[in-house]
Amino acid sequence: MKLFLKIFLWFLAAVSLMVFVLMFVTRTFQTEPMVNRFERSTRNQLTIYGGTASQIVKAEGEDGLKTFLTRLKDLEPPRQVSLVSNDGKVFFGDPVDAPEVGELTTRTMASGQVETDFNSEERTVGASPVNFPDGRRMVLVFQWERQAPPSLFWGSNTALIRLGGILLVAVVLCYLLAMYLTSPIRKLRGVTNELADGNLETRVSPRLGRRRDEIGDLARDFDVMAGRIEGLIKSQQRLNRDISHELRSPLARLNVALEIAKQKSNPDTMPIFQRIEGESDRLNEMISRLLTLSKLETGADDVDRVRLDFAELVRDVAADADFEAQAKGKHVEVSSADSCPVIGSENLLRSAVENVLRNAVRYTPERTVVDVSLTKENGHAILKISDHGGGVPEDELPNLFRPFYRVGEARERKTGGTGLGLAIAERAVKAHKGTITARNYNGGLQVEIGINTAKKGDA
């Protein structure tokens, strides 16, 4: 999940939870005293009603009492008012059905005091004794619809608006916070990618402004690092140019001097001069390969990519390699070459294929064949080059593409080569976002190169 979404959701969850906990606690602590007050005032009311009813029946008789009770009945909130005699009959008013009301009536009758019942889900019930002048005692029963305490969020429009408002504010705040935290990281990531793509001058600080927090520190540290990398790469590139010029100048002079010496030499010294010439050629070859390699490693910036048929290139290189191999009694055979349009640098791809192929020719024994097969599989051009040179130990396979890596006893220096061919091939293939792997196959080494084929319409 994206960091932005994570931060946003976590903060939103935290804020929402906090709001609800706060509401719950407040509500609990505020309703308790309210309920107590309600119960007390209900009792007082009942006591007064009971007392008043007793006085009225004494002064005005039963008709006066009935008028009073009718008046009580019409008051708000709606209620049921009944006067129950001691034998359970309803003397006046609404019928009394519920068992808890009957029980309450009996209790009041016995105690002669106001009794209440707030536990029922449906109604609040209260009973108050009324004393008649003739000594009879009846019970005045009040039944109210249970009044639920008003809900904070549900039930009314205001409550919903309140809830919506809180959530909206929370969402906006969390969004801003998440943006504040993740946007510099996104910018940092963009710059990192640019740097990786070879744009060494890019820096984060101008895009972040003046932040003084840890992210600002990170950005500044990153810039310091980018500066050092830029310095290192620039100096390496400079070094490469200098090597190319400075090492080759004496080599060029050496070659000419050697040739002059050969002009003046006698047959005895000729072989040794030829030896010197061979070594000088080798040195030269190594310098140019080293340069190619370091050019590839410091970012292939001067790669001009064109659309080309990989099969044609492979067949070309294979023909050249076969020509060379025949001189040593070996062969290169192209067993299949599907047409594979790719986008890439012809030079780099050519040098990748050439290096792998020449390596295979070098190690395959005389009178054997190096097999080249190019197939097209799900948008990839797969090139397999297999020799019969006995392969290499399994645990050495991944090291084959390291510069100057030589495999133990099996492949010795005397077989020639600079130790850079496969390394160059690997870098060249990587520059095309391709893959290169080596495996032991059928008594030899098989190197597989995979490159994305071009789709129709690609430049």
Partner: protein
Amino acid sequence: MDKILIIDDDEELCELVSEYLTVEGFDISCVNDGASGLESALSGDYDMVILDVMLPKMNGFDVLRNLREQSKLPVIMLTARGDDMERIVGLEIGADDYLPKPFNPRELAARLRAILRRTAVEDGDPEASEKLDIDGIQISPASRIATCDGRELNLTSVEFELLLELLKEAGKIVKKEDLSENVLERKLSPYDRSLDMHISNLRKKLGERVDGTERIKTIRSVGYIYTLV
């Protein structure tokens, strides 16, 4: 004796090459920077120039570009080995051949002779070959002028020879091996792309036919053919 001008800032190398080439029968002069190199090359005293790419004051490409505005003096460029850009740019501007540095002086001498022989044939023996007029291209080996649909082509001597060879065999495949031996006067070696490069330059200069077809077709790993309609 053929007079050769070497333009290279490496004085010691110049000395050694002079010594070697003098023994091989050339008359050598050396200049160590681009500006005076161009001046000497334009003086008309020389038959050929060996030109290094990296030069003080004016680099090799600029020297060649300026030289080509006024002269068709044959030029061999010395390029850094492995730097394809230098090679391609050099040939595009109009070098007759290139040699990657460090070079084998025997090779240098052989190439000098090849180019000089070519120019000598053209200058000395006007009857050596007759004019050709094929497919809108007139090519006259004697005057070394080639025109395409009336437009004069500014070809280097290698390109001129290549076009001549292809036109002589127009409609037939000319093998790479033969082109290399007849024109570049060296055996075709594997991985050598210079022939392809010269052909590609030649194609650019000729342009396509009006109907958009290529004049010179590549027959992969065999050679080239000048197609006839």
